[in-house]
């Protein structure tokens, strides 16, 4: 491996981290603006134009707050909780294809940190580790409300991962590959997976809400019941990390939704654009298109959050095990039958 590749990948990884952080930061700003808009208010408008410096002000405030440590026997775990949440939220971005490729100085740059052939599995593996951050934080807080929240979060994330994985199996049966790059390439032009897998997409979308702990599945941190849930005892930037991780994972979930179901960086007429405008211009538009899709999903997450109430714990479990999992299994069967019929092996 020559040094150029190492340099190229390092710069790329650094950029991706920066973008994820920035997206998470500005998701907090967007959340407030969207909430304000839905609620007929103005929202943040003091710090900078349109309140754009608000996330910086928040970060500064969180850093300068006292770091309160509750009287817990497990101080190490207490500190480890937010750290796990944060690192997990940032790790997923490694396998996401942010665009096809760019040609810089005669050198082809693949816009993906690493194209591992089990990209989907990697994403799932990393996402499931995310529950440990919440579990450990809630347990180490030595607080009944936090513990309850940790229990809720754990059972919720584990149950919804099952349905999420099953809805993906149908998709993988179609694509025949676990690499996110291949899945993206298969969706060129209008062959977006959402058109072939509408049911799978809906199940996956619902599960994404559950995985990111967003309303209507924000049982783990519902302030009306559990005060702050697992981060009740946290203060300063440790709490900031939890909140930040939530927004980062919302960003990543939106990205995965866009990549798996909404054609990733593909847009209709991309091949034509490559031919007429050149690789760089066409792929630049591709990156922009991916980010537009991601923003649309983030907005959808917020829109739902500020519109509907949240489930109760038992209703959530019922929906997961009795609603989504059977549906996902049915989806696998339907997809299987259609694939066989399409290949002419059925009749």
């Amino acid at each position: 491996m020559d040094q150029a590749i190492i340099l190229e990948k390092s710069i790329f990884i650094f950029t991706i981290f920066a973008i994820t952080m920035l997206a998470a930061m500005y998701s907090t700003w967007a959340e407030r603006k969207v909430a304000a808009w839905l609620q007929d208010r103005i929202g943040p408008n003091r710090a900078g134009p349109l309140g754009l410096l608000q996330p910086l002000a928040d970060g500064m405030k969180l850093f300068s707050k006292e770091e309160f440590l509750p009287n817990t026997p497990n101080k190490f775990l207490f500190v480890a909780g937010p750290a796990i949440s944060m690192s997990v939220a940032l790790m997923t971005s490694a396998v996401i294809p942010w665009g096809d490729k760019l040609i810089i100085g005669g050198r082809t740059v693949i816009l993906q940190a690493t194209d591992i052939n089990i990209g989907v599995l990697y994403v799932f593996g990393v996402l499931s580790v995310g529950v440990y951050g919440i579990m450990i934080g809630g347990w180490a807080s030595n607080n009944k409300f936090s513990l309850m929240s940790a229990m809720r979060a754990a059972s919720q994330m584990i149950s919804y991962e099952v349905a999420m994985g099953m809805s993906l199996i149908a998709l993988l049966m179609m694509s025949g590959d676990l690499s996110l790059k291949t899945i993206s390439e298969q969706q060129a032009e209008w062959h977006w997976n959402v058109l072939y897998q509408p049911l799978g997409f809906i199940i996956f979308l619902v599960c994404s809400f559950a995985e990111t702990n967003r309303t209507p599945f924000d049982l783990a941190e519902c302030e009306a019941e559990l005060i702050g849930g697992y981060h009740t005892e946290y203060s300063s930037m440790r709490m900031g990390f939890y909140l930040f991780a939530e927004y980062a994972s919302m960003f990543i979930s939106s990205t995965i939704l866009a990549v798996l179901y909404f054609g990733a960086y593909n847009y209709p007429g991309m091949a034509w654009a490559v031919e007429h405008w050149g690789v760089n211009a066409a792929n630049g538009i591709g990156i922009a298109v991916l980010f537009i899709k991601i923003c649309a999903f983030i907005f959808f997450f917020m829109w739902v959050r500020w519109t509907i109430p949240r489930f109760r714990y038992d209703q959530l479990m019922r929906l997961g095990w009795q609603g989504l999992i059977p549906l996902a299994i049915a989806n696998i069967f339907i997809t299987g039958v259609i694939i066989l019929w399409h290949d002419g092996k059925l009749f």
């Binding site: 609620q39 309850m148 509907i308 949240r310």
Partner: protein
């Protein structure tokens, strides 16, 4: 558990926990919901015995903001007691104020003019709308939907602006005087009420659309914290919480006061007495209140804005400066030295939460001999543990919210 009721709840529950400890390896736990918990909307403590997320038993504790209003009232002349009533159910203080004035007028045998009665009806119905706005939208907040709350709160603000135009205050209004109002309503008041009547229905139906047929909201509230009609009556429920259980008891109709008999309106009732029914009954009551205000605005008679009772109603300031009788009345009223008969009266109004009663005993002196407030919140809170036993923690929050237990009224 009933055998050791005299023990404090922690010890009682400890005994239960020890008994149940090793049956299936699981353990019960005690959860302190309150005194400072976001869902209690005030300060009161619920000690809950929990089996995981399920509530086995509970114990309510009151008195965290007890301010001894009944005792303070025994040392105050009548006109100084209204500020105390403001601070009971602070979501609808004008109803408390008007209820108190009517009680005093009943004790002193004062007949108030028709115009005053209509004005009082309007202000009480506005206060009821404000109260129901808070209760129903906060039920949304407690189930996780914040938007409806902030959306309709603008209109509570408009109601407060009307109060402000009438009496200068917003939250703790101290509105009115013995025999009427301190001044006539300005044209601005009528304009603001008319504006409110025009704009509010659209907003309220939007709010209803957001929640009434929302599947998640229905799942969260139907069959949550139900109470049967028999039980509700035996606890002494009144108001929307009793009507949600199916009893059409409303003080405005059963023993009309302040000319309520002049107006056409329905009493909405529910069936099962669960959280959803309470929510719907309050929603419907807002529409009925709007109807009443509309009728009162149309039929509003001309005339004086206070009764002709110089012994109790302050004379105009110019007269005080130029007229000896007026000066004497002014002095006597301000010092609280007004003639009071020896009497005993009970007067109830339909408060935002239920029957708000004032039981007044006088002994001829300048202050009440004894004054008791019948506070509906205090009664609802007694039933809370019965209603949530066997339900989940989230249900307890929704139930508490829909009972509209307001700490100021609970503790007085």
């Amino acid at each position: 558990m009933a055998d050791d009721l005299l023990l404090p709840p922690e010890q009682r529950f400890d005994a239960v926990i020890k008994q149940n400890q090793n049956e299936d390896g699981s353990e019960l736990s005690i959860l302190n919901l309150g005194p400072t918990h976001p869902a209690t909307h005030g300060i009161f403590q619920n000690i809950l015995l929990m089996d995981g997320e399920r509530i086995m038993d509970g114990e309510g504790t009151v008195g965290y903001i007890h301010r001894a209003f009944e005792k303070i009232a025994e040392n105050r002349p009548f006109y100084q007691i209204t500020p105390l009533t403001d601070r009971m159910n602070y979501c609808s203080s004008p109803i408390n104020n008007m209820g108190w004035w009517m009680t005093v007028e009943k004790a002193l045998n004062i007949e108030v003019p028709k115009r005053v009665q209509y004005m009082r009806v309007i202000i009480m119905e506005l206060a009821r709308i404000a109260d129901h706005i808070i209760c129903n939208s906060v039920l949304g907040v407690d189930t996780g939907a914040l938007t409806g709350f902030l959306y309709v709160f603008q209109y509570r603000e408009k109601i407060y602006e009307i109060y402000e135009e009438i009496c200068g205050a917003r939250l703790t209004t101290n509105m009115g005087r013995i025999g009427g109002f301190e001044r006539d309503w300005s044209p601005e008041v009528f304009k603001r009420i008319n504006d409110f009547l025009e704009e509010f229905p659209k907003i309220w139906s939007e709010f209803e659309n957001l929640l009434v047929r929302n599947r998640i909201f229905m799942d969260r509230t139907i069959d949550v914290g139900p109470i049967s009609a028999e039980k509700a009556i035996s606890y002494g429920f009144t108001g929307p919480n009793l009507r949600a259980a199916g009893i059409d008891y409303d003080v405005r109709v059963m023993s009309p006061y302040s000319s309520y008999e002049d107006f056409e309106f329905d009493i909405p009732v529910g069936k099962s007495g669960d959280t959803y029914d309470r929510f719907c009954v309050r929603n419907a009551e807002v529409w009925e209140s709007l109807k009443i205000i509309k009728q009162a605005m149309e039929k509003m008679p001309e005339g004086p804005y206070h009764a002709d009772v110089p012994d109790y109603y302050l004379p105009p300031k110019e007269d005080v400066y130029h007229n000896m009788e007026a000066l004497i009345y002014h002095f006597k009223i301000v010092m609280g030295e007004v003639p009071v008969p020896v009497t005993e009266v009970y007067h109830a109004v339909e408060g935002g939460n239920g029957e708000l009663g004032f039981y007044l005993t006088t002994d001829g002196s300048r202050t009440p001999y004894r004054l008791h407030f019948r506070r509906p919140c205090f009664i609802y809170y007694q039933a809370f543990n019965d209603m949530v036993r066997g339900q989940m923690l989230s249900d307890a929050i929704a139930t508490l919210s829909s009972l509209n237990v307001i700490a100021g009224e609970l503790d007085a």
